[in-house]
């Protein structure tokens, strides 16, 4: 990993507010592929550390996953484990980050609407009550503020929730952010620290050093790191020409698999579709993120068939967001009536008054899904110079800041505050899927 940061001087003074020089001869230290919230957070962190960063975005900022979801910063839906560690770290960091961004960008910049509104998870069946409470206890042991409350207390917190619920757990740490504005804010902050953000530029392939002439775009043999010893990624070919960078970070979300393929290091990232319904504005009657315990079934399952579970919250503007579905149907953007109906029906189990609300809009986005349900963060052992930061599935908004912290720690040679090995491409739980992916490539 130290080799990935070679040539980088961790003691270099921070160049905040100073525009990075870039000329074609020297190139960038880091090229981040993707201007979603993960790429934006990484660009900001590395720029503030003094690296010369360029963000390359095929479309526009937050035009993919980051602009198609609710903006969840949740701890409540995560079982004890590495992802929860990321989430707990993020939960602390967002509080400071939202203030830092507000101070830095000033009052004219739109508010990122960070709010620690808290979550309330309910069970709607007798059978679901016990598992929900057991789950909450296991989370509490892992450091989550998970408060098992009785139904009357739940009704005090959310007076319009279905009184027939059988169990409830309050999660005061659950928070929310407006994901598009947050992405733009992180990018604006990155630009102030010298980063370049280039939109409408697509990465076509890699630029390599140390390989035989004429084989620049040929992937190295998968799984044979030794043979690729002298071969390293030194930049990317794009629709706007070559961009040289000592480190290339693949933060292309659900499209990261395609990017990895183009750079010669296949990665088993799959799109998982999620649809969120948006109601017309109404007086605030929902005060927290309220969801059916059924949510766990959907987030933890590999079943490609349609899964829905209720995740309901109101936004600052008075609309109510109702999620969500999870379908593995590739990059199919067609909206299905069955999905919308099922999401709508389940929401009324949690909040019966929603029957009279109207849906006026639907988001349909793709979440980057990994076979072992953990994001991939850090250098790729198979190709020097290539890093990944993807696979956060539906949690990327919240986890972006943890991901950026981990990336910048590794990059700077600092001891990471998070377990880098757990998110490494080389982790054992990913080995089989990686092998299959490489065989197919």
């Amino acid at each position: 990993m130290s080799s990935a940061a070679s040539g980088y001087d961790a003691d270099r003074p921070v160049a905040r507010g100073h525009r990075a020089r870039n000329d074609g001869a020297t190139g960038y230290d880091v090229a981040v592929i993707g201007a979603g919230i993960v790429g934006a957070a990484i660009a900001r962190a590395l720029s503030r550390d003094g690296a010369r960063v360029v963000v390359l975005e095929r479309s526009a900022a937050a035009s993919g996953t980051s602009g198609q979801g609710e903006g969840n910063l949740l701890v409540s839906d995560k079982a004890p484990g590495h992802e929860l560690d990321l989430a707990l770290h993020a939960n602390r960091r967002w509080v400071d980050l939202s203030e830092e961004l507000a101070d830095e960008l000033g009052p004219d910049f739109p508010n990122i609407e960070f709010e620690r509104k808290g979550g309330l998870v309910v069970a709607t069946t007798d059978a679901g009550a016990r598992p929900l409470e057991d789950f909450a206890r296991s989370q509490a042991e892992a450091g989550v503020d998970a408060q098992i409350i009785d139904v009357s207390e739940a009704l005090r917190l959310e007076p319009d929730v279905n009184p027939a619920i059988t169990a409830a757990v309050a999660y005061p740490q659950d928070s929310q952010v407006q994901p598009v504005i947050a992405t733009e804010a992180l990018l604006a902050s990155a630009r102030r620290a010298g980063a370049d953000v280039r939109c409408g530029i697509e990465v076509l392939g890699g630029i390599f050093a140390g390989s035989a002439p004429g084989s620049a775009a040929t992937p190295s043999s998968p799984g044979t790191a030794d043979r690729g010893e002298h071969r390293r990624l030194t930049g990317v070919q794009t629709t706007a020409g070559a961009v040289t960078a000592s480190t290339v970070i693949n933060a292309a979300g659900p499209w990261a698999g395609e990017v990895a393929q183009r750079l010669g290091a296949p990665l088993p990232v799959r799109p998982r579709r999620g649809v969120v319904l948006v109601t017309t504005r109404m007086p605030h009657r929902i005060f927290r993120k309220v969801y059916d315990g059924d949510y766990f079934g959907a987030t933890q399952s590999n079943d490609a068939a349609l899964q829905t579970s209720s995740v309901i919250e109101s936004t600052a503007s008075g609309t109510v967001l109702i999620g969500s579905s999870r379908e593995q149907i590739g990059f199919d953007t067609r909206l299905r009536a069955e999905v919308i109906r099922e999401i709508a029906a389940k929401s009324t189990r949690v909040f019966p008054f929603l029957r009279d609300a109207s849906v006026m809009r639907a988001y349909g986005g793709f979440r980057p899904f990994m076979p072992d349900h953990l994001p991939v963060i850090g250098p790729d052992h198979r190709l020097e110079g290539l890093w990944h930061a993807t696979g956060h599935e539906g949690a990327g908004i919240g986890l972006s800041v943890s991901t950026a912290d981990l990336v910048s720690d590794i990059y700077a040679g600092r001891t990471p505050g998070l377990d880098a090995e757990a998110f490494s491409v080389a982790r054992p739980s990913l080995a089989a899927a990686l092998e299959t992916e490489e065989a197919a490539a």
């Binding site: 059916d292 909206l335 009536a337 639907a362």
Partner: protein, 478 residues
């Protein structure tokens, strides 16, 4: 052969009749409770005289179409049908999902159709450019004003100003005059030289130039009869008033529609009717996957076929060219969708269509809003009415975020996110923000085509929707 026609204005009615004549089974859906669309509006039952035709052009055409369709054994007419989703399928024409019944009522009936062919005839809505004070009561879209005049026969005011662009201003002024309103003037933003170049005729001879659109000739004659001043190169740049409109400022504008400083005059008015053309209702066509051209109309071939197999588009979806063009396009689409053979009648319709479509192209070239209009906005002028977003906020957020995405700016400013989903302000917001966006997402895309009650959706879903009807749940992982 089953055909679904969505929209029962001139284009949709003509399509339905033509498809029936060619032997198809037709289901005609419309969101209103009557046939005729916006063009043929009905008087209320109570005041329905034998004089519908006075305010309606081609009323006899409507009666003939409506009577043939309603009496046809192979035709099913469903009014008050709100289509909320078109579902693309791997095989076959998109599936149509609608709810039937009054919009505000609960428990509407759900209707799902899987036709062999789908004819979209959803028409257009008024385009109204924002100006300071346009949210005051007493400021109407010209379409709304005309609808009130036609269906309620109520005079909107005693001193009415009609402003905007395009020949549609004329029938609006006429309808208003016929209800007894005093129309103080019609203010057309297009300048005299531009009109002359575009129409190839002197504007006061507009009647001759618009002979190709016969109903317009009548409007011009009526105009003269009611002595309504018609002034070009002028725009309403501000409406004044506290509780409702009391006066308007009219300014001369240059060829690019930018107001000319010092040319402003304030005149008293108690009603203002504004139209700057029309925006096609594209959401169903987009949902069906149809190609939209650079001019933001649905692309069709000579048979009115869109790029999506089995889907046809007619009327204002393909260009704003008036009722005659819509009737011709409907006739052609209905015929070919029903796999009718080539015929002399259809050839005639095709010739007629080509003539009127050419007219529509010229109309658009002459009267389409020019970007200078943005200069009459102030920083505090509301652009998005639903979310109350001002021009100043749009500018500020664009410069603050330096965003390269139109969608991102919409979500950051909230412009176009309200109940109308950008139908009123979408194009204006796009023009204000500029068109240099990396995502190029237009504001026409609305996958949920019309607001739909959750109870109506829930009633359809499997697994029960009652709070007490619970299905077993997957336990969370241990």
């Amino acid at each position: 052969m089953s055909i679904v026609v969505i929209g029962a204005g001139p284009a949709g009615l003509a399509a339905a009749r033509s498809a029936l004549r060619a032997g198809a089974d037709v289901t005609l859906l419309d969101s209103s409770d009557q046939l005729g669309g916006q063009f043929w509006r009905h008087l209320p039952e109570t005041s329905r005289a034998a004089k519908q035709h006075v305010l309606h052009h081609k009323w006899s055409t409507f009666e003939a179409l409506a009577s043939e369709i309603t009496q046809h054994p192979r035709c099913t007419i469903v009014t008050s049908a709100q289509v909320w989703l078109l579902e693309q399928r791997d095989q076959g024409t998109p599936r149509v999902h609608a709810h039937v019944g009054p919009v505000d009522s609960g428990g509407r009936e759900s209707l799902t159709l899987e036709p062999d062919a789908l004819i979209l005839a959803t028409g257009a809505h008024d385009r109204t450019l924002p100006f300071s004070g346009w949210t005051l009561p007493g400021v109407y879209t010209a379409g709304a004003a005309q609808a009130i005049a036609k269906s309620e026969r109520i005079a909107l005011g005693s001193r009415v100003v009609v402003a905007g662009a395009g020949p549609f201003l004329l029938p609006v002024a006429q309808s208003l005059a016929l209800t007894g309103a005093r129309v103080r003037g019609v203010y057309e933003a297009t300048t005299l030289p531009a009109l002359a170049r575009g129409w190839g005729a002197k504007p006061w001879k507009l009647g001759a130039a618009v002979g190709k659109m016969p109903e317009l000739a009548g409007y011009v004659a009526s105009h003269v009869r009611h002595s309504i001043p018609y002034l070009t190169g002028r725009a309403v740049v501000e409406a004044h008033g506290t509780d409702r409109v009391e006066a308007v400022t009219i300014a001369r504008v240059d060829e690019n529609w930018a107001p000319i400083a010092g040319s402003e005059t304030k005149i008293e008015a108690d009603a203002v009717c504004v139209s700057h053309g029309f925006t096609p209702r594209l959401e169903l066509a987009i949902a069906a996957g149809c190609s939209i051209g650079p001019d933001r109309f649905v692309e069709v071939d000579a048979r009115q076929r869109t790029s999506t197999r089995g889907v046809y588009a007619v009327g204002e979806l393909t260009g704003i060219a008036g009722a005659d063009a819509a009737l011709a396009e409907g006739e052609i689409a209905g015929h070919f969708a029903a796999r009718g053979p080539r015929s002399a009648a259809v050839s005639r319709a095709a010739r007629s269509r080509d003539r009127f479509v050419d007219f529509g192209v010229r109309l658009d070239a002459v009267h389409a809003p020019r970007r200078g209009w943005t200069h009459w906005l102030r920083d505090d002028t509301v652009v998005c009415r639903c979310e109350e977003v001002t021009r100043g906020e749009l500018d500020s957020i664009r410069s603050q975020t330096a965003s390269c995405g139109l969608r991102s700016l919409k979500l950051s400013t909230r412009a176009g996110l309200g109940i109308c989903q950008g139908r009123i302000c979408g194009r204006s917001v796009e023009e204000l923000l500029g068109d240099n966006f990396a995502d190029g997402v237009p504001t026409d895309r609305r996958p949920i085509v019309s607001p739909v009650r959750i109870g109506d959706l829930a009633g359809q879903a499997l697994g029960g929707s009652q709070p007490d009807e619970r299905s077993p749940e997957e336990p969370p992982p241990q």
